[in-house]
């Protein structure tokens, strides 16, 4: 009897719960996912909502920030103009981030190879993929336990769909100030447990604000970055009167 009980305990300890099979996620993004984590094997699409607000790239970088900082390997495919400084501001570890600027016509093979070895692959597509290729890659992600994040084009059969429905900029006025933060409203939908729509206010700030780059909103206090006291930055001043003139214009 004691022997059988021991076997049961052993089996239970060997089982992996779904919530353990997840990549870490920035706390502000956790409400977007039903389990509160980035489920391994999932396919996530990131894009603009009906309002057509920009912010997909920042959201994708925010998704990979916590995994890369936790030691998981991430790749970005098809974004030659990726801003590494922004990734660093959002908390990503550039030592665990590789960029494949352009994959051309071979992107299904490239993404398949990356899903075999890496933990998270962000893919930007110019055109909608063929359903067969999309299905194959989603299956590859599922069996390898990697996360595929797609943006730029519609992807058939995603598990979680993130849409940026509104974005607001902080810091820039008419003729003065500079951008030091932004707010995004993100709506998550999907299938299965993710089918219930979730809406989250995100605030992204520069790392020097002490907010860790990524915050969350909607907690009654506003939760957004304070508007009242923006930090005094070393804004570059116009040329002094005695300086060289004749700026190329």
């Amino acid at each position: 009897m004691a022997y059988e009980a021991g076997a049961v305990v052993e089996r239970a300890a060997g089982a992996v719960l779904a919530r353990d099979r997840a990549l870490p996620l920035a706390a502000a993004l956790a409400p977007l996912f039903p389990t509160g984590g980035l489920q391994r094997g999932a396919t996530v699409s990131v894009g603009a909502g009906p309002g057509g607000a920009p912010g997909a790239t920042s959201l994708a970088l925010a998704l990979l920030s916590a995994p890369s900082a936790g030691g998981s390997w991430c790749a970005v495919v098809g974004v030659p103009e990726l801003g590494f400084v922004a990734a660093d501001q959002l908390g990503a570890d550039l030592g665990h981030l590789v960029l494949v600027p352009t994959a051309g016509q071979k992107w299904p093979v490239v993404v398949g190879a990356l899903l075999e070895g890496l933990d998270l692959v962000v893919l930007r597509l110019a055109a909608e993929p063929r359903p067969a290729a999309a299905r194959r890659l989603a299956a590859r992600a599922r069996e390898q336990g990697a996360v595929l994040v797609v943006m730029g084009a519609a992807w058939p059969g995603v598990d979680v769909r993130l849409q940026v429905v509104a974005t607001r900029w902080r810091g820039l006025q008419c003729g003065h100030g500079y951008l030091w933060g932004r707010e995004m409203e993100v709506v998550a939908s999907g299938r299965g447990a993710a089918s219930r729509e979730r809406r989250v206010q995100l605030s992204l700030g520069a790392g020097d604000l002490g907010t860790g780059g990524l915050g969350t909103g909607g907690l009654g206090t506003g939760g957004l970055l304070p508007m009242a006291a923006p930090p005094q930055p070393p804004v570059p001043r116009p040329l002094a009167a005695g300086g060289p003139t004749g700026l190329a214009s």
């Binding site: 030691g71 030659p80 030592g95 960029l99 990356l114 951008l179 040329l239």
Partner: protein
């Protein structure tokens, strides 16, 4: 610098012979200049040569007509013999027939190398990093010594004086070479004959070793040739292409014979490319396509670009292992199976030498005689399993490429006839340090395989690693480099420090998309007039409209908020400076952009996506 004169001492001939001894290989690694120089300009190098070294070693005065021969060819002449008209590279019999008074000596490479050693030591006494190219030629990296001794010319004169002083001392105690019965007249017994050799040393200073060797050959007694930094191209332009065949200009590589530069010179001359300036004017891809790596080297050299050798350390060819397939193998899997066995053999052989292979070329010969080769580099040793995997990926990638290129005629059925593994770079086996808890090891191997596979599909430059560095704009704050390995020490080193102040660097939110090169934009005010920025950094009017892109893809949106302009001036102290003014704008659609005004136009430097 004195005017360039035609190359003397037979270097202008296409015979492939230099003025000093041929055949003595220099120290490895000299051809690249001092290591760690990156892709920037080649290091300042000083070369001192004694063109008549073999005659000096033989203990003959400059006034005696002497020729030193090796393999029945003249390799070195005394000034008196040159004045009579003899040439380096002539047959011994011809020289004897035309100038019966010419004294013929057999060359003695051992004695020449031995006697050169004190000369090198004399130079080394005041300048570090001296390297012997061959007996009679010495090179040193001269940036530091030049500053210390007051300029390239002062250093060159000092080196010449040191060399000549040492040469004079050599003459008083000669290496007493034995008489050779083969030579018509043996070396004389007189040991104090090395007088009158003042001015035997020629010194040249230029960027990089090959140009410095050439400058030294063009120098005269007491008048060194100093090529100003960055002016290699101007210096080389009037010279004939035949100087490429000069010995000592380029280190002999493992795959190159001595005849190759001469063949290249011959071909260039027949095609009508007579001077290095004409060669430099040709487009590089065309030169590579027509003349191969040798031609590309010559082209880079003629342009004054750095010419680092592709293989820094030559390896013995017999370390390669290969296997023939009979009948040819059709399946990549079968080849991979053999690759594994070969890799184990190679590993065992290198292991006996205490070496591991860090760069390995997998070469496949198909039954139709095609040769496909790719080099793989890895941090640490490349295991047998990894080699097998790479061989399979490589074959699959090529099969796919053939299918895509060939279309219907199914040329992918070219079986593998021979597989070779060639170690290209080895290092002492000092083991690979594993993490203390072992968690990263398996992951790193998995990641390395996946990324190596992508590199096999798209090329080694297709997977990039970024590291932050100091810079004024967002593109300059990142250094991208091809991915080399999962070890943390393998991320590229930043080229510029983060620490110093970078005036003009923007604070606040960083853009998620940085356009390289920037996109074309138009900014107009409320009346539709194009905006400009005055010399004092002021906008002509508040911006009202922004058009990103041009042509059919242009998008127009209203500006709702803006900040700036912030002028940036870079490197105004030298010629490569740029001035621009930057502007941040938010548009009605929710977009935010970083704009720049430069050269009278507006650009989108980055998008806050």
């Amino acid at each position: 610098m004195r005017p360039v004169q035609p190359v003397q001492t037979g270097a202008g001939t296409a015979s492939g012979e230099g003025t000093a001894l041929a055949g003595e290989a220099g120290l490895p690694g000299v051809g690249a200049g001092p290591p760690g120089n990156g892709s920037e300009a080649p290091a300042r190098t000083l070369v001192a040569i004694c063109p008549d070294w073999a005659v000096i070693v033989a203990g003959r005065p400059p006034s005696a007509p002497v020729a030193v021969v090796s393999s029945n060819r003249v390799t070195c002449l005394s000034p008196a013999a040159r004045a009579q008209g003899a040439r380096v590279g002539q047959r011994r019999r011809e020289a004897q027939a035309r100038w019966p008074n010419l004294e013929i000596l057999a060359s003695d490479p051992g004695a020449e190398a031995r006697c050169w050693e004190p000369v090198v030591a004399a130079v080394e006494a005041f300048a570090p990093g001296v390297e012997v190219l061959e007996p009679g030629q010495v090179a040193l990296a001269c940036l530091g010594p030049s500053r210390y001794f007051g300029g390239d010319r002062a250093l060159a004169l000092k080196v010449a004086a040191a060399v000549e002083g040492a040469v004079a001392r050599v003459g008083h105690r000669p290496a007493a070479p034995a008489d050779r019965p083969g030579a018509s007249s043996g070396r004389g017994p007189d040991g104090q004959a090395a007088s009158g050799w003042q001015g035997c040393c020629r010194v040249g200073v230029a960027d990089g070793l090959p140009a410095a060797v050439l400058a030294a050959h063009l120098a005269g007694p007491g008048s060194p040739v100093v090529v100003p930094p960055g002016r290699n191209r101007d210096f080389l332009a009037p010279l004939p292409v035949s100087v490429l065949a000069l010995s000592g200009l380029r280190q002999p590589g493992p795959a190159r014979g001595a005849a190759e530069p001469a063949a290249l010179v011959d071909l260039l001359v027949r095609l009508g490319v007579r001077s290095l300036g004409e060669l430099a004017a040709l487009p590089a891809p065309a030169v590579l396509g027509r003349f191969g790596a040798e031609g590309l080297w010559a082209h880079r050299f003629a342009n004054g670009w750095p010419t680092r050798p592709l293989q820094p350390r030559p390896l013995p060819a017999d370390w390669a292992v290969s296997e023939r397939f009979d009948p040819p193998a059709e399946q990549a899997q079968a080849v991979a199976f053999v690759a594994r066995a070969l890799a184990e053999r190679l590993q065992a052989r290198l292991g006996r030498e205490g070496l591991v292979c860090t760069r390995l070329a997998i070469e496949v010969e198909t039954e139709r005689g095609e040769r496909l080769r790719r080099s793989w580099r890895q941090q640490g040793a490349i295991g047998a399993g990894a080699v097998a995997e790479r061989a399979r990926w490589q074959l699959e990638a090529w099969a796919q490429a053939r299918r895509e290129a060939g279309g219907a005629e199914a040329p992918s059925r070219a079986g593998t006839a021979k597989l070779s593994l060639v170690p290209e770079e080895v290092c002492p086996d000092d083991g690979l340090q594993l993490g203390l808890w072992g968690q990263e090891v398996g992951v790193a191997g998995r990641v390395a395989r996946a990324l190596a596979r992508v590199q096999g599909l798209l090329g080694p430059g297709a997977v990039l690693n970024g590291v932050l560095q100091g810079g004024r704009d967002y593109a300059g704050q990142v250094r991208l480099a091809p991915w080399e390995g999962p070890a943390p020490g393998h991320v590229p080193a930043p080229a510029a420090s983060l620490a110093p102040p970078w005036p003009g660097r923007l604070p606040g939110l960083a853009p998620a998309l940085v356009h390289r090169p920037p996109l074309v934009a138009q900014v107009t005010d409320r009346a539709g007039q194009a905006l400009s920025v005055s010399g004092r950094g002021l906008l002509s009017a508040p911006p009202a409209w922004l058009v990103v892109g041009d042509g059919r893809g242009a998008r127009r949106s209203a500006v709702v908020a803006w900040g700036g302009p912030w002028p940036v001036e870079e490197r105004w102290w030298d010629g490569g400076g740029r001035r621009r003014a930057r502007l941040q704008v938010c548009t009605a659609g929710g977009g935010a952009y970083l704009l720049a005004r430069e050269q009278g136009r507006w650009w989108v430097e980055a998008t806050y996506d």
